[in-house]
Symmetry: C2
Subunit: 157 residues, 2 copies
DNA sequence: CAAAACTCTACTTTGTAGATAGAGAATACT
DNA sequence: AGTATTCTCTATCTACAAAGTAGAGTTTTG
């Protein structure tokens, strides 16, 4: 299907970083930009819109920066992606959260593509609803540990 | 995620129509265009490229038109969508069939977004690999019958 | 007040989706 | 042979969005 936009990829990366630092005070745009390899000015825009969405908060001036508003375990990827990219479904008429008759549908009740795309949407939603910033960070951490001690992997799996 | 393009939606609609007519000789562009409500000239292009992909064949002149090359039960939506839109995965680095390191990935082995998107891809692929033009047409036909005799629905389900 | 941060708005660039147009080539029928 | 029918090819157009850049403005802290 169509790819995730860079904006969303950057957003997620920034959110992971903020999630890792959750509870340890604000993080600087400049730091995030460097660590996560995101163009500085673009990141400014992105963080600003994440703030508008209520996902992060910010403080100005020395000692300022960005913070995650809610605990990482409470933020699902589904919600983040929906806020940034819109509905998960590959067609508006297959969306649960933001259903809209697609201009193409001749008859919505007997549209084959819609039936299939509803299945696809449900499958995606199931995964993305149960995946949170917290759970992603955990998996990443596990993968990093494995990288550090590659031998251990053999015996643990 | 991002929506299916109109090109793909039109392609699928045209293919369903050809699937319904499979075994009954060629169908005209003009007929398909009218029946499926697809802009004529755009449809010409689309059918031409579907021909290039080996999905349909054509005959010129009187009595000509387009035909499905293979039986509808043998054409999966996964294959059609891959040919038209590219990989199913929301990120190139999460694709099985056309893996490509995405320019954004810092470390592919510990990329959280990639891990999640691999799950999403697998779920989508599972559905789309088992769905064929034939199976879609069957479901559509069933839905049409239900529409015609709405009472029956109650007792059969 | 000055330095450190974030904030806001506007602009540029590039690419792609979604068409439309029209001449050309093959086929079948008479 | 001629003509109607049908697909074929290539070029062009327009609108919009993604991705990124620029720079002046505002708030906070010390």
């Amino acid at each position: 299907m169509r790819q995730l936009s860079k904006r969303t990829q950057y957003s997620l990366r920034a959110l992971y970083a903020l999630a890792r630092g959750y509870g340890h005070g604000p993080m600087l745009i400049s730091q995030l930009s460097k660590d996560e390899v995101i163009p500085r000015k673009f990141l400014e825009q992105i963080l600003l819109s994440l703030k508008g969405l209520g996902l992060v908060s910010s403080r100005k001036g020395r000692g300022g920066g960005y913070l995650l508003v809610h605990p990482p375990e409470q933020i699902t990827l589904a919600s983040v992606i929906r806020m940034i990219e819109g509905p998960l479904a590959p067609l508006p008429c297959a969306s649960e959260t933001r259903f809209r008759k697609c201009d193409e549908c001749i008859d919505i009740e007997t549209c084959g593509t819609r039936m299939v795309m509803k299945e696809v949407r449900d499958a995606m939603a199931q995964i993305l609803e149960r995946t949170t910033l917290g759970s992603v960070c955990q998996k990443v951490e596990a993968a990093r540990q494995r990288q550090r001690s590659p031998k251990a992997l053999t015996y643990h799996i």
